[in-house]
C-alpha cells in the first residue's frame, strides 16, 4: 500500500463520517417543525367536515368556550374555530392575562362529538375538576377546566 492510497482511504473515511453527521443534523433540522403536507391536507379536510357537521350536531352540543372566572371573565371563543389554543401568548384563541398561565398552556379540540382539553406542557398544569391532567381529557358542558387562576367552561 502506497502512502498516497492510505492517505486517500483515511481522507475518504473521514469524509463518510462527516457526511453521516451532517446528514443526521439535516434530518433533525427538517424534523424541527413537523409536517407541512399532511397539515394542509387536514386543513383542507377540516372545513368541509365543519360545513357538513353542524346540521348533524345534536342540540345539546356546546358552541363556545367561556371564561367564567378570573381576570378575563367573559372572554369567549367559538368552537367552530377549533382547535383553540389557550395561553398568554398572542397567538392564543383566548388570551389570558394571568401570571400562572403559560404562553401556550392548553388546547381544546374535538374528536367526533367529544371535546377534549390537552395540556401543552404548561408550568402550572391544567386541571379538570380537581385532577391535574396528563393526557387529552374529554370535557362536557359545564365541566370546569382550571388554568392558573382562570376557570373555563364549554357553553351552549
Amino acid at each position: 500500500m502506497s502512502e498516497l492510497t492510505l492517505f486517500l482511504i483515511r481522507f475518504a473515511y473521514l469524509a463518510i463520517l462527516w457526511i453521516f453527521v451532517l446528514s443526521a443534523i439535516s434530518v433533525i433540522r427538517s424534523d424541527m417543525f413537523g409536517a407541512r403536507v399532511p397539515e394542509t391536507a387536514r386543513g383542507a379536510a377540516a372545513p368541509t367536515r365543519g360545513k357538513s357537521k353542524p346540521p348533524t350536531r345534536r342540540r345539546g352540543s356546546p358552541t363556545h368556550l367561556l371564561v367564567v372566572e378570573g381576570d378575563n371573565a367573559g372572554a369567549r371563543a367559538e368552537l367552530e374555530d377549533a382547535p383553540l389554543l389557550i395561553g398568554r401568548g398572542s397567538d392564543a384563541a383566548i388570551r389570558l392575562d394571568d401570571d400562572y398561565v403559560s404562553t401556550r398552556h392548553a388546547r381544546v379540540a374535538s374528536s367526533g362529538d367529544e371535546w377534549f382539553v390537552e395540556d401543552l406542557g404548561s408550568t402550572n398544569g391544567t386541571y379538570v375538576g380537581s385532577v391535574r391532567i396528563t393526557q387529552p381529557t374529554t370535557i362536557g358542558l359545564g365541566i370546569q377546566v382550571r388554568i392558573g387562576k382562570t376557570i373555563l367552561e364549554l357553553r351552549k
Partner: protein
C-alpha cells in the same frame, strides 16, 4: 386565526424513510471503518467483510423493522447515531485485535465478543420495544426498580460472585460470564428517580431560606438527596468506583433540578459533592493518585501506579493531530486498555481530531434528541425519564473524554457504544429503546378526528381516555 391554526396542527411525521437513509450512511461508517482497518493493517480488504458487513446490516435492519412495527413515530435520528458509533467502535476494537506488536498482549477476540454483545443488545432493544408499549407502565414499578437497582449495586460485594478487577469491585462472575450490574442499575435508577420525582416534585420545589438570590430547599426535604449522596459515597468507599459514584449522583441531581426548577438544589448538590470529593481525597490513596496525576501527568509517567496510560493517550492524540495517522499507522497499543476506557485516544491517534469531533458531535446529538423528546413528551414521567436517560450519556461522555484529555481527573467509565464491554453496550441499547418508546408516545398525533372516523361510530370507538 390562520397562523394559530397552522401552529395548532403541528404534527410529527413518522420519518422512517429518513431513518433508513441515515442507517445506510451509518452502515457505511461501520463497514467502511472495517474495510479501512483491513487495508491499513493487512493491505487488503478483509476476506470476511461480506460476513461481517452482512451481520452488521442484519442487526441494523432488524432494529429498524422493529421500530417500524412497534414505534412508528419514534425519533428518526437516534438509531442511526447509535449504529454509527457502535460500528466505529467495533472496527477500532478489531484494529487493536489485529495488532501483533509487542505491547499488544491483549486477547485477539475482543471484536468478535463485542459483536456478540451487540447482537444481544439489539435483541433486548427489539424486546423492549415489543413488550413495553407504553412507558408509563414503568411508573408503577418506581419502588421495585429502585430496590432492584440497590440490590444490583450491592451484588459485587457478595462473596464468591463478586469480582475485583483493577481495584474496583464492580463485577459479578457467574460461571464463565462476568457482568457489571452497575450498568443495568443506572437505567433502573433513572426509572425510579423519574417515578419518585414526578410524584413529589411539588413538595420538593417548595422554597426555604433565601441566600444570595437563590431559594435554598427546606431542610426537611433534604432526605432524598442525602440518601442518594450516601449511596454514591458507599460506591466510592466500598467499590472504589469513582466514575459510577459521580454518574449516579449527577443523574439524580440533574433530574431533581429539572423536576423542581429550583437552582437551590444544584447549590446543595454541588456542596455535597464537593464535600464528598474532598473527604474521598483526604481518605483514599487512589483518589489522591488520580488528582496528582491530573495536576501533573508527566511527573508520574514511569511510576506504578502512575500516569503511563494517560500520558500515552495524550501522546497518541498529539501524534494523530488533525486528521490522524490512518488505520494501522499509529501505535494505539501503547495505551493500556485502549479498547475500553481509552478508545477515544485510540480514535484520536489513527483518525485524528476530525473523527473525535465527529464522535463527540454524535453524542451531543443523542443528548439533544433525548432533551427534545423530554420537551415534546406530554407526561411528566416521560419528560423526567428522557432527561435522565439523556444525562446518562452526557455525564458518561463528559467524564470519560474529560478524563482522557486531562480536563478532569481520570475516572473509569465506559464510552457508550464505542468501548469494549458487554454490560455497558447491552444496557445502552436498552436505554435507546426506552428513549424511542417515549419519543413514539410523544410524537404520535393526539387521538383525534380524522375525516374518516369522525362518523357515527365515534361514540363506540372513543379514543381519548378519561382520567
Amino acid at each position: 386565526m390562520s397562523q394559530n391554526h397552522s401552529l395548532m396542527d403541528f404534527v410529527h411525521r413518522q420519518r422512517r424513510g429518513a431513518e433508513l437513509f441515515l442507517l445506510l450512511l451509518a452502515l457505511a461508517v461501520g463497514i467502511g471503518a472495517y474495510a479501512a482497518v483491513g487495508l491499513g493493517m493487512e493491505g487488503t480488504i478483509p476476506a470476511d467483510i461480506a460476513g461481517y458487513g452482512g451481520w452488521l446490516t442484519a442487526l441494523i435492519v432488524v432494529a429498524h423493522v422493529a421500530i417500524r412495527l412497534f414505534a412508528p413515530y419514534a425519533d428518526p435520528v437516534l438509531l442511526p447515531l447509535v449504529a454509527a458509533l457502535n460500528g466505529l467502535g467495533l472496527a477500532v476494537i478489531h484494529r487493536l485485535d489485529l495488532d501483533d506488536t509487542a505491547q499488544c498482549i491483549d486477547n485477539d477476540t475482543f471484536a468478535r465478543q463485542q459483536l456478540i454483545w451487540m447482537t444481544l443488545g439489539v435483541v433486548l432493544f427489539v424486546a423492549t420495544l415489543a413488550l413495553l408499549r407504553d412507558h408509563r407502565l414503568l411508573q408503577r414499578l418506581t419502588y421495585t426498580t429502585g430496590l432492584t437497582a440497590i440490590v444490583l449495586l450491592l451484588l459485587p460485594m457478595v462473596p464468591f460472585i463478586g469480582n475485583t478487577v483493577n481495584g474496583a469491585k464492580i463485577w459479578i462472575s457467574v460461571g464463565p460470564f462476568s457482568f457489571q450490574p452497575g450498568e443495568v442499575a443506572k437505567v433502573l435508577l433513572v426509572i425510579a428517580f423519574a417515578g419518585y420525582l414526578v410524584l413529589h416534585r411539588d413538595a420538593l420545589a417548595l422554597a426555604g431560606r433565601r441566600v444570595l438570590f437563590i431559594d435554598l430547599p427546606r431542610g426537611r426535604d433534604l432526605g432524598p438527596i442525602l440518601g442518594m449522596w450516601a449511596v454514591s459515597m458507599f460506591i466510592l468507599v466500598f467499590q472504589r468506583d469513582l466514575g459510577s459514584s459521580l454518574l449516579f449522583f449527577g443523574i439524580f441531581l440533574i433530574m431533581l433540578y429539572v423536576a423542581t426548577e429550583r437552582p437551590g438544589w444544584l447549590v446543595v448538590g454541588t456542596a455535597l459533592f464537593a464535600a464528598g470529593a474532598f473527604a474521598g481525597w483526604q481518605a483514599f490513596g487512589h483518589v489522591q493518585n488520580r488528582v496528582n496525576i491530573w495536576l501533573d501527568p508527566m511527573a508520574y509517567y514511569d511510576q506504578n501506579p502512575g500516569s503511563g496510560q494517560l500520558v500515552e493517550g495524550l501522546f497518541g492524540m498529539g501524534w494523530g493531530g488533525l486528521i490522524g495517522r490512518g488505520f494501522g499507522e499509529g501505535a494505539p497499543c501503547r495505551i493500556p486498555y485502549a479498547e475500553s476506557d481509552f478508545i477515544v485516544p485510540a480514535i484520536g491517534e489513527e483518525l485524528g481530531l476530525t473523527a473525535v469531533l465527529a464522535v463527540i458531535l454524535c453524542y451531543g446529538l443523542i443528548v439533544e434528541r433525548a432533551l427534545r423528546i423530554a420537551l415534546i413528551s406530554r407526561d411528566g414521567f416521560g419528560k423526567l425519564m428522557a432527561v435522565g436517560l439523556g444525562s446518562i450519556f452526557a455525564l458518561q461522555v463528559f467524564v470519560v473524554v474529560g478524563g482522557v484529555t486531562g480536563l478532569i481527573p481520570l475516572t473509569g467509565l465506559t464510552t457508550p457504544f464505542l468501548s469494549y464491554g458487554g454490560s455497558s453496550l447491552v444496557a445502552n441499547w436498552v436505554v435507546i429503546a426506552l428513549l424511542l418508546r417515549i419519543s413514539d408516545q410523544a410524537r404520535r398525533p393526539v387521538p383525534r378526528l380524522s375525516a374518516t372516523d369522525a362518523g357515527s361510530d365515534s361514540e363506540s370507538t372513543q379514543v381519548v381516555k378519561l382520567k
